[in-house]
Symmetry: C2
Subunit: 402 residues, 2 copies
């Protein structure tokens, strides 16, 4: 099987599961760090492993432009290229085409655009997006969709939805034809120095396995369109589904509403992925609502700006009040940064514009996000629904709100 | 003893020794990475430990300006501030005052200058430099000297030399008076979370120990001035000596000549430190000439520009020829970068301007420099001077030339 999703326990709407992919097992609910250009900014892969990251995101748009999907295919895929032997999910490139590139022209066939790097002309269609993702060799790829802008009225959201559905069908059909052409198993996906005596067993490791394609529910902020899109995608029988087009500027109540509207219509036995969220309290909340997978640049991007997420709330480590604060960023955190470095030092690194600031802040924020999800998984998996657990639920809920 | 220098073996002019400082033992000859602002750029302290760095440099000028020596003193010194429990050497601030600041005015008393950060006015004298270094709490401090510019004629070098000698005497006198006021032992110098049961033994660890001050030989490129300066400094009986004012634009033959002129006049039983050198073949060469300690920004700065030092010579990893090169940066290197990542990936990180480039390139270059010195130490320590050893000497010498 190229993808299995084994639910071990439920608690209310939440599910504790194991998602098994060609490059390993992922415990869900899971938060996926974003490694846009084949790197989670500033963090070496062995530190990601120490944080127990099991799956990360690569961006198809960026990697297509640089270094190129054919180049990466020739080098046996993104896993080997970035020396990451665990799971990778790639987005379709659709979102960045709309948000980053210049001079976009959308037709039924796809999107013509100019690279934000050098202005060169390119064309992304559902078929081409599938080819790029298969060449990269991610474990999970995403259908090429149109991320409806916000705000959009019902008529506009309807047109966008129709396009997304047509592109979803084309994505699926093309992906099914080509998915066996993934660049796995030719050589070790980990490290560049192999013992000469090492047998070439890796071909067996991926034998018969292919990447999997998820569909993406759009529909703007309209419950009826969301429901319609969901039903049509479910008919196409994807192995997993994402809810896209959220966290695009809408108020949080609307985000929650669209998730709550959509989730019940998605197959319960398949993974459900909300793209592009969120703050620590959000991801915990959505996990409790039944979301299995989430990704967001927030912990990593905020880190580089000195914004740290902690059990005591958010803090801006650049603030002068920390100049002689010798305590850790988060007294309740056991990450390598909080066990070793002081707030005063982290503040100094930001003030001095030192590259180590990005490294340490990012390690902490990722540790905080991953620990947040680990606690939710633990909560779902807990056997007793005792008074303590209920109080724990409430306490976790309260602390997650900050 | 605050500093012991135990020579275990000599080979020709070279010495294999252990320099024991309050914050630990350093095997010499040694290359000291530069941690200008209390951080070796982009490298977390635990990676420095994994590389077996035993001593690093902090820059007095930078730390005085930001975050400030009194602030660092209040936080129990630079070791604790940067969570580095091994040895630290601080320079005097003299070089940066001359090279970085604006509107410098030099008098017999010291140097008035404006900060390069915000233009504020400051004054550095020998006494003030000693106060700052003691407040930082380095294991070794450097006398406040005037780094003679290059080129300088004999008359100019003479005037500069006289100033350096006067300032050396003032540095020594003031340092001797104040060295007991170092901020060690109040609390753990490692990490910010201590067990409540941990006894406060650290006060014993540094009891009776103080920082040590090294003198710096100047004299421009004039053998007679260098000899005179050396003799006068030796009369002042410093625990160690540096040769300064080199690698300031002079041809390498002149660098070597000044080192060769000076070393025989320095006490053989004390450490000899050449400041600001050099390329891998240089540091090996000078170590074989009898130099015990060296520092340079080259491996770390070059790394950030994509210049990697390898057993096959220097390579610019940004070069297009590496775009699909799946081998390691250096096939002969066992560092964490060469064991895991490919040249193609390192090149991509540079092209994509990703912060991970600085991390990985720096780890490799430091590993290469430290391994270079380790091999020289091993060579000096080797028992037999066999035909193989002589051939090894020649091979190492050849490979170091690139």
């Amino acid at each position: 099987m190229s993808l299995t999703f084994q639910i071990q326990k439920t608690r209310g709407l939440a599910r504790r599961a194991t998602l098994t992919l060609p490059h390993g097992a992922v415990e869900t609910p899971v938060f996926m760090p974003v490694g846009t250009q084949g790197t989670v900014k500033a963090i070496p892969q062995h530190l990601l492993e120490e944080l127990d990251v099991r799956i990360l995101l690569g961006n198809t748009y960026h990697l297509y432009l640089r270094p190129g999907h054919e180049e990466i295919r020739r080098m046996d895929g993104l896993h080997r290229f970035m020396s990451w032997d665990r799971a990778i999910l790639t987005d379709s490139g659709g979102f960045q085409v709309f948000s980053l590139s210049e001079l976009r022209k959308v037709t039924e066939d796809g999107v013509a655009f100019r690279s934000h790097i050098d202005g060169s002309s390119h064309f992304f269609s559902p078929e081409h997006s599938m080819d790029v993702q298969i060449a990269l060799g991610s474990d999970i790829g995403m259908a090429f969709d149109e991320c409806t802008e916000y705000p959009a009225d019902h008529a506009r959201a309807r047109v966008s939805l129709n396009r997304t559905l047509g592109w979803a069908r084309r994505s699926r059909d093309h992906f099914e034809q080509r998915k066996h052409d993934r660049p796995w198993g030719q050589r070790s996906a980990f490290g560049v120095q192999r013992s000469e005596n090492e047998p070439d067993l890796l071909a067996d490791r991926f034998e018969g396995k292919t990447p999997s394609l998820f569909g993406i529910v759009q529909g703007g902020m309209f419950a009826d369109l969301r429901r319609e899109c969901t039903e049509r995608l479910v008919e196409m029988d994807f192995p997993g589904y994402a809810i896209g087009g959220l966290s695009v500027g809408e108020p949080r109540e609307l985000t929650r509403e669209m998730i709550a509207t959509t989730l019940p219509l998605l197959p319960a036995d398949k993974p459900r992925y909300v793209m592009g969220v969120g703050y620590p309290d959000e991801i915990a909340e959505y996990a409790r609502m039944g979301v299995d997978m989430m990704d967001c640049v927030l912990p990593t991007r905020a880190a580089r700006h000195g914004l740290l997420f902690t059990s005591e709330g958010r803090l801006n480590i650049r603030n002068r009040q920390y100049a002689e604060d010798q305590g850790p960023a988060d007294p309740a955190c056991g990450c390598m940064v909080c066990r070793r470095y002081s707030r005063a030092y982290l503040r100094h690194l930001m003030a001095a514009q030192e590259p180590l600031a990005a490294v340490l802040n990012t390690v902490h924020n990722l540790a905080f996000y991953l620990e947040t999800m680990r606690k939710v998984r633990e909560e779902i998996a807990a056997e007793t629904v005792s008074q303590e657990s209920r109080m724990g639920d409430q306490a976790v809920g309260e602390s997650m709100k900050r």
